[in-house]
Amino acid sequence: METIFLILVGGMTKASIYFLVAAGLTLVFGVGKVINFAHGSLYVLAMYVTYSISTGLFGGGPYSFWYALVLTPILLGAFGCIIERFLLRRIYGKEHLVQLLLTYGLVYIFQDIYRLGWGVMPKIVPHTTFMGGSMSIMNVTIPQFNLFVIFCSAAVFLALSLVVSKTSFGRFSRAVAFDEGMCELLGVNTQAVYTGIFALGCFLAGIGGALATQLGVVHLGMSAHITILAFILVIVGGVGSINGAAVAAILVGMTESFGALFLSEFGLVLIYLVMVTVLLWRPFGLFGKPAF
């Protein structure tokens, strides 16, 4: 029973991080119609940036991580604006293959940037003392930070849902996703929407990456796994759907945790089984529409 509960919390923590990454990707995908292979790399970049901010800029003090948690997403969002402005803007509406090539090229470039900037050794972000302890629920000891991650992710989910449904930015985004040409005719600044959406995606990856530094080490081999996982989540959830990304993240996070318990190393295989089952059942994902 205790194990099950621990695994549930572990699975939800994973799911929370996955959601933050997948939500950004699904927005970029759904609105900008761009296949961004580099999304996982941006997430890893966020981890390295968090490392540098908390150990370098703030000297690794007890609260350094919290400064980094605020700064990293902002930096990533700004960086996203630059990438969107100078690279992605040239490939909107092009063949899928061209988009794949360009963003896949970015994956390689980022990979070398990490190595040049931070070296090949894994990096550990000093653990925060605030929220760093553990607490006990129903006689089970749970790290406080895991609960914080779950809380953050849930807050982001609510905020995103509100932004998409209530704000004018959200309305414009949905309109642009639906029919870009019409929006341009109606005077919507579609370029600004694209930039905004991409920056938002990077911002979310920034939060996810920053939080994830407290759960494990940062190393070079991470981007492939998270990139592919993020795509699986987006496809399972349905392109462009925040709710879909959330459900898929929980599904995959739990599968991964329980899979690790029962199948140890081959738990990973279960994720693919989940994906294949969902896609056979609903070819456009749980919340997806056939349009895209």
């Binding site: 090539l101 896949y104 090229g105 294949v276 896609l279 070819p283």
Partner: protein
């Protein structure tokens, strides 16, 4: 127009003969590192052409072909090391296993279009990689399989070269044959307009699936041949980086010409060797930059670019010729 076609054909035939002669005579001139490099080019070129059957002709962006290549690679390595089977049988087993996995993956993927297909094949490719990477007992995990023994008759480098050249040339010939048959042409039609092709009585998904299986058969064989060359097998060669490399070969060389992918593969290998000999480990950065530049500047590939230029030249020549 007819005369142009003829002269183009003659140029092509001359180029082909020259290339064949060159490939046959090279082992007399070069050896060691350079011959090794040439064999790598031939194998990657063959791999790229087999992928292009799916991409250029079938219109399916497969981002997981390294998985099938890897299956061929590991099966060849394992069988060479632990079984006494004759080499042709081993290579055949490797290809068939590649094709079998291709059948399963293809069955699940062909109903999907465009990027869904790309992502799903990528996921399956990574699944194969993950299994190879984690199944330490069988595959040696990260350490890979090393010291694969070769049969007696291949111990000589030149013989190995001719062995690889012969198999690759033969199989490229088969693929060339396939794309020109009714099957291949109908496949190309499914890429052009699958809705219309359904309406002339073609089950497009089944055509796609068969093309995918054929392609993965040859991908497995390419992996097996690479094992003969490297005498080892490592999980790096199964990862998505390899899928990306062979995909880039196709696009760089040009997906819409038969030999384009081979040209792309040659460029890739030569460039890699050049870059790594000057900057040792900056290859990923250079490769990434090539990806970006190709995507922005020459999405139709090198051969596509040359063809366009040539056609424009021919058109202007015709115009000036028409008004003497």
């Amino acid at each position: 127009m007819l005369r142009d076609d003829k002269s183009v054909n003659r140029t092509k035939a001359a180029l082909g003969t020259a290339l064949a002669l060159a490939l046959l005579l090279t082992p007399l001139l070069i050896d060691g590192y350079w011959l090794h490099l040439l064999m790598e080019i031939i194998i990657l070129g063959f791999f790229a052409i087999s992928l292009n059957l799916v991409m250029g002709y079938g219109g399916m962006i497969s981002f997981g072909h390294a998985g099938f290549y890897g299956i061929g690679l590991y099966i060849t390595a394992g069988l060479l090391k632990h079984s006494g089977l004759p080499l042709p049988l081993i290579l055949l087993t490797a290809s068939l296993c590649g094709a079998l996995c291709g059948l399963i993956v293809g069955y699940l993927c062909v109903r999907l279009r465009a990027f869904y297909f790309a992502i799903l094949t990528l996921a399956f490719g990574q699944l194969i990689w993950a299994v190879i990477f984690k199944w330490y007992k069988v595959t040696g995990g990260e350490d890979g399989i090393i010291g694969v023994p070769l049969p007696e008759f291949l111990s000589n480098e030149t013989t190995l070269y001719f062995f690889i050249l012969a198999i690759c040339a033969f199989c490229i010939g088969i693929i060339y044959w396939i794309v020109n048959t009714s099957f291949g042409q109908v496949l190309a039609a499914t890429r052009e307009n699958s809705e219309r092709t359904e309406c002339i009585g073609v089950n497009c998904n089944r055509h796609r699936l068969v093309a995918f299986v054929i392609s993965t058969f040859f991908a497995g064989l390419a992996g097996g041949l690479y094992c003969l060359l490297s005498r080892s097998a490592f999980p790096d060669l199964v990862e998505w980086g390899k899928s990306g490399e062979v995909l880039l070969s196709c696009v760089l060389g040009g997906m819409y010409s038969f030999f384009g992918p081979f040209v792309g593969a040659a460029l890739m290998i030569m460039l890699e060797s050049l870059v790594t000999s000057f900057f040792t480990d900056r290859w990923p950065l250079v490769l990434g930059t090539i990806f970006v530049v190709v995507a922005l500047a020459v999405p139709q590939g090198i051969t596509g670019y040359i063809q366009e230029k040539l056609q424009r030249r021919l058109a202007t020549l015709k115009q000036t010729g028409a008004t003497p």
